[in-house]
Symmetry: C2
Subunit: 356 residues, 2 copies
């Protein structure tokens, strides 16, 4: 029986990706070798990695002058690495605080210099996206988190600033159109819309590199990875491969416009049920509701076990909310089919009917 996988990450990927990824572990394209035992510098793996980079560029519309890297360490490593490369020794940077991930980025950046939190939604447990905040002149960069997995909020505007814009897009990249040219640096842990855990996508504007005036360790220096074409050291080959397969799936089906439309349909379907159903309540401000992570609670929390049992019976997994928000969280990443959302909505209707 099919599992409807609402895991917040690592999360669902397309079934056809799993099929091909499984085959490659047995044998990669008639080489007689498993992909797991192939040198990253073999012609096959170099071509595979090049293809992954080309697909990112094509699908996202990455303009000239940007490099696409596949690194390790996740967004958590990028919190420090981004500041290390972009914050000059006596410079200042601005951060928008929209939750745990922004806060962690701020902690790491503060090790390196003057960090100003320009806006925060902490006052309401991060259930909205700050707007109308003031961005001072003279910042080295402005950093924000485009989607906030725990609280179910998402930026639907791009912050206005003359400074270099840096975005952690871990949980909504490839889900909608973005204008890469607006950014100096985009980073994203792969394990939502791109691939399995273990690889981090970085898109960086080349001309901004090498200007911080700092001594940067090789592995934390974007310039080193740009020069090495992500093979300065042994890259996480298999995670890149699965990401490449996911990008092929995305491109084949219509790319970002297709995905954007499908994600809107999924979000409309679930949010309209939350708003209609007398038994549920959404936790995020309506205008800031994430299309990736839908957070909601029961009107009557004592019925939590009943609803959870119904979810389990319908083979819906991963819907438990983060402990800091409680309730439920439906993570609807790119590969989650509309049908799975319909199954969830049906359970919610049934819950309303049987718990009147």
């Amino acid at each position: 029986m099919k599992v409807h996988n609402y895991s917040a990450g690592p999360c669902i990927l397309p079934n056809e990706v799993f099929q091909q990824a499984s085959k490659a572990v047995l044998e990669y394209e008639n080489t007689g070798l498993s992909i797991l035992e192939m040198s990253h510098r073999s012609k096959e793996m170099v071509a595979m990695a090049d293809n992954a980079v080309a697909l990112v560029k094509e699908v996202l519309g990455v303009p000239e002058g940007y490099s696409v890297l596949f690194l390790q360490g996740g967004a958590s490593m990028q919190f420090y690495m981004s500041a290390l490369n972009f914050l000059s020794s006596n410079g200042k940077a601005g951060y928008i605080d929209t939750g745990v991930w922004s806060s962690k980025a701020i902690i790491e950046a503060k090790r390196l210099g003057d960090i100003e939190v320009l806006a925060s939604s902490k006052d309401k447990n991060y259930n909205y996206i700050p707007k109308g905040y003031n961005v001072p002149a003279g910042l080295d960069f402005l950093h924000y988190t485009t989607n906030n997995t725990i609280y179910g909020t998402e930026f639907f505007h791009t912050p206005k600033t003359d400074a270099v814009l840096i975005a952690d897009m871990s949980s909504d990249i490839f889900s909608r159109p973005i204008n890469v040219a607006d950014y100096g640096l985009i980073y994203a842990g792969a394990q939502k819309n791109l691939g399995p855990a273990g690889v981090t996508l970085v898109i960086v504007k080349d001309e901004l590199l090498g200007k911080s005036g700092r001594d940067i360790p090789s592995m934390l220096d974007y310039s080193v990875h740009v020069k090495g074409e992500s093979m300065f050291n042994t890259p996480p080959v298999y995670s890149i491969y699965v990401s490449m397969l996911t990008l092929e799936w995305l491109k084949k089906n219509g790319g970002i416009p297709w995905m954007d439309n499908l994600n809107q349909q999924k979000a409309d379907l679930l949010y309209s049920e939350i708003d209609r159903n007398t038994k549920f309540l959404g936790t995020a401000e309506k205008e800031d509701r994430s299309r990736m992570n839908v957070t909601f609670v029961l009107q009557d929390d004592s019925k939590s076990d009943v609803f959870s049992k119904m979810l389990a019976d319908a083979n819906i997994s991963g819907l438990k909310g983060h402990r800091s928000v409680g309730g439920f969280r439906a993570s609807m990443y790119n590969a989650l089919p509309l049908e799975s959302v319909q199954v969830l909505v049906d359970v919610m209707k049934e819950f309303e009917r049987t718990n009147g």
Copy 2:
């Protein structure tokens, strides 16, 4: 037809590991989910990661007071991270330089303080292991690389020092017995004897942590990962899983004593042929010859294409030497069967016979 995979890394792993690793991508243990779409915090993946840690401890005989971590970034990240955690602000560390990897470790450590190269074999293109060097008192630590993949040399003694001993064991860990208690820190990129690329094994003595007096970024702080049990952030789940399978294979077959014996047989078989055969010459000093990477050249280099053709015909792959040494390199990691070494030896004999 079977490929005899002599790749220097990523490299051959046991065939049964590939079989099981392939299945888990389709479905992990009757969960209805691919391992690639499972949360690292699911009970199944937490149990899997715990098992991987327990297997490392059992197979290597890790004593109490040490933590086993699975991190990202490879040995290249450890070059910096090890010094950042173990070199105090005004301290000094000693390094033994046995090749490219040692040299890279030295470069990263020098960013942080006073580094003394205690011995080097650079004078002979790293074809031997330095001995009889002096280790000054008062070092924060002594760092060395146990096996040198490019040059085919390996330490068969443990450097004597009162300082904390740090070893990069990327290319020979799990190939022979080690006394973990001799070390303050052991690190190893997985992609030789442990698993696929994308995960780094760290074994660290807990009581040595938190003493450098430095402000350490979270992701570069061993203490943070010890506290988070390698799940401070999303770990490279699949690479850990494949490593766990490889450790199960190792344990089931007799553990380190079995492996040690088999590696000796493989090394004896190939080195004795190199020494017997009039057409070949080993490049490393005999007493320092690596059991993992066997480097040799043709007596008559003009026959290189002929020999390479014979290797290809025998389905032997990955034998090309590193560009800095030339010639040939047979990487015989744990999972390479004795039979593959016999096939190589047979080709060498045939080459001698037909190119007299």
